[in-house]
């Protein structure tokens, strides 16, 4: 029993989080201060929500490279749309903004699904090119200028200032748990429930495990593919809207080049690259671990130039441990 828990990937991530937490805590006590931890949680919100979508595509057996541009496209066009609406005197509630952004994201996701299931383009290539297409369409037809806090929809600004509970810190500023953390937890929980307990979610695992077997059992590959990419797009739209609200500025270049950071976090969390395996808990821990390390290296006195180096080593380390675990697990079950 203990052996089985130890061989779980989530156990590894959790113990690494604790290990690094203790190392950082000893090296610099500020790390363990409430402010720093609350800040870390807030920083994790964006990658955690994006990671849900990445995980779904990864479980279905493909690597998604378009999620950041889907997120940016939907969030940017939504905030642009509602900033114009607001200039005409209508205040829109935050829920509407989120829903519109998610809707646009799902639409863009269905384009990916069309490329993948109708034209049989490998997911990596299809999403790499669709990311470029979405980017071009956004810059050409929606706009490429920043939207500053003054023009941003009021409800997004309000959202970014909302704290769940707060208390004054020593400096006099208010410190508290940001409300977007709740949204992230909700997104993780819903993804978990959908992937674990619905037929659609299980079909994604089946598709990733073995496509032709899944088809023979009776799953419709086209439907499953559509579900995977619409869900991923929807989540990306949500993540984009929340991320833009959190920084209060819609900067179209903001997410550029973070695809692999999020994907790496998902993989460190135990999702198998060839599909068929992965859990939301693992992904959440993976995101927490990567952010914990990349945000706090500077606190323990490592110069920022070392960031990339350490990040690369972390990916290698996590995947090596996974490979070793996989072997040990196979040996364990063979023994049964």
């Amino acid at each position: 029993m203990i052996k089985r828990i130890v061989l779980k990937n989530e156990f590894l991530s959790l113990s690494m989080i604790l290990l690094f937490g203790i190392i950082f805590g000893i090296a610099n006590p500020t790390f363990l201060s409430l402010i720093n931890i609350l800040d870390l949680l807030k920083m994790c919100v964006k990658p955690a929500i994006f990671a849900c979508g990445v995980m779904i595509v990864l479980i279905s057996g493909g690597i998604d490279m378009s999620f950041l541009w889907i997120g940016m496209f939907s969030a940017y066009s939504t905030s642009k749309l509602f900033s114009i609406v607001q200039a005409n005197g209508t205040i829109v509630p935050f829920a509407v903004i989120l829903l519109v952004s998610m809707f646009i994201g799902a639409l863009l996701g269905s384009i990916n699904s069309l490329l993948v299931s109708k034209f049989r383009i490998p997911v990596f290539i299809a999403t790499l090119s669709s990311a470029n297409i979405f980017m071009g369409i956004m810059f050409q037809f929606v706009g490429s200028e920043y939207i500053f806090p003054e023009q941003m929809p009021q409800s997004m600004i309000e959202f970014s200032n909302k704290l769940l509970f707060s208390f004054p810190s020593q400096g006099g500023t208010l410190v508290g748990l940001h409300v977007s953390v709740l949204y992230a937890i909700a997104a993780l929980l819903i993804t978990h429930l959908v992937m674990r307990y619905t037929m659609m979610g299980r079909s994604v695992y089946a598709l990733g495990g073995d496509a032709s077997s899944a088809e023979r059992v009776g799953f419709s590959l086209i439907k499953t593919n559509l579900f995977v990419f619409m869900m991923a797009g929807l989540i990306a739209g949500l993540a984009g809207a929340i991320a833009i609200s959190n920084i209060q500025v819609a900067n179209p270049y903001d997410f550029q080049g973070q695809e692999l950071t999020v994907t790496a976090a998902v993989i460190i969390g135990g999702t198998r690259v060839t599909g068929g395996k992965g859990s939301v808990l693992g992904v959440a821990l993976g995101v927490l671990l990567t952010n914990l390390i990349s945000q706090n290296l500077i606190l323990v006195g490592v110069p920022p130039e070392y960031n990339k180096f350490v990040f690369g080593l972390l990916i290698i380390f996590a995947t090596i441990v996974q490979a070793v675990q996989e072997r040990a697990r196979k040996a364990l079950y063979r023994g049964l």
């Binding site: 493909g62 049989r120 490998p122 290539i125 071009g136 050409q140 088809e215 990040f311 490979a323």
Partner: protein, 351 residues
């Protein structure tokens, strides 16, 4: 009809695309055919082509190498450091040449070493290439960052810069063929021969199309992986030296979208990322097509972001075309044979 079928379908397609693009661009902008422009396009093909060759051989083995640009920059930076420490104002010409030659050797060695690390992780631990090279990309770039602390190495000897800018066969106005293009062509031709005419190339493609079958045919898969990534690293190192010579400096984050361009060039040339399919010699045509497109867009003053997005369209379009052609071919076959079901069942591919 039979003659057309005899020529590799993809080659013909690409040749048509190249000719069409060239004529259209020349028609819209007469400056496009000026000798200065052609010279600069040749220079650019020489640099971007090397990275495309790297990706092509790795693609054929059903892998991917995201770390090539980091390897190139690392090599450039290490050479920059050597130049800075070994040379000064008073060094003689012979000394400078010696140090440059030494740097070329060291650079290629470092490239091979980086490739060896990739191969080691992929072959021995069985980690997926995309993950390994993603990590090593960060590691190599991290090492460059640590060496330079984010600054550029600029002490590159003049003779190297002059060499990178030199050309042969210059006639009057026309500056001739740049030495960089010749270097690229040499590497490109020899790698095409290696991939398509030698036992190693055969093993590489076999491993790419089905590694289990190649294993049972007594092919040393591990050795194939090592050789592939070491080759890719060495070519990337040459690319790094060329970038250093052309720009006269080396920095950790040069060539941000070079990898994407290289991926695009390969897919456009019909080299499948699913391994084992495609012809390396088609690369030059897709390189030319993309170069015409990007230079043309520059001349038409279309912003680079739109250009990137058109690359995306082009990629999707070319794959869809290929799919439709393939479908038609299969349909034609179906009329003759009754193998429909077996073919469609085995053709469902994912990645």
């Amino acid at each position: 009809m039979r003659i057309i079928r005899k020529i590799d379908n993809k080659t013909l397609q690409l040749a048509v695309i190249c000719v069409v693009l060239f004529t259209v661009m020349a028609f819209i902008r007469p400056k496009f055919t000026s000798s200065a422009n052609i010279y600069s396009m040749m220079m650019q093909i020489g640099t971007s082509g090397l990275f495309a060759v790297c990706i092509a051989i790795v693609y054929l083995s059903r892998g991917i190498d995201l770390s090539i640009i980091s390897i190139a920059n690392l090599v450039g930076i290490i050479c920059g450091v050597i130049f800075r420490t070994a040379l000064n104002e008073s060094s003689s010409d012979a000394e400078v040449t010696g140090v440059i030659l030494l740097c070329v050797l060291i650079g290629i060695f470092i490239g091979m070493l980086c490739g060896f690390i990739n191969g080691l992780l992929i072959a021995e631990l069985g980690i997926f290439p995309i993950l390994v090279t993603l990590a090593t990309q960060n590691i190599f770039m991290g090492i460059s960052m640590i060496i330079t602390q984010g600054r550029a190495e600029t002490d590159i000897p003049k003779s190297l810069i002059q060499f990178a800018d030199s050309s042969i066969l210059s006639i009057g106005d026309f500056r001739g063929i740049p030495i960089i293009l010749l270097l690229f062509l040499a590497i490109y031709v020899s790698l095409s021969v290696i991939v398509h005419k030698t036992p190693f190339g055969f093993k590489l493609q076999w491993h790419g199309s089905n590694s289990r079958v190649s294993f049972f045919n007594a092919i040393d898969n591990k050795r194939v992986i090592y050789t592939t990534y070491i080759l890719s690293g060495a070519v990337a190192a040459v690319g790094g030296l060329i970038i250093t010579g052309r720009t006269g400096s080396a920095k950790a984050d040069y060539g941000g979208n070079a990898v994407f361009q290289a991926l695009l060039t390969c897919v456009l040339a019909g080299i499948s990322p699913l391994g084992g399919r495609g012809k390396v010699y088609n690369l030059i045509l897709s390189l030319m097509a993309l170069q015409f497109l990007s230079t043309g867009f520059n001349m038409l003053r279309i912003s680079p972001l739109i250009r990137d997005s058109l690359y995306g369209f082009l990629l999707v379009f070319s794959i869809i075309m290929e799919y439709l052609i393939e479908k038609r071919r299969v349909n034609m076959l179906n009329k003759k044979t009754m193998l429909t079901e077996r073919m469609t069942a085995s053709r469902y591919t994912r990645s």
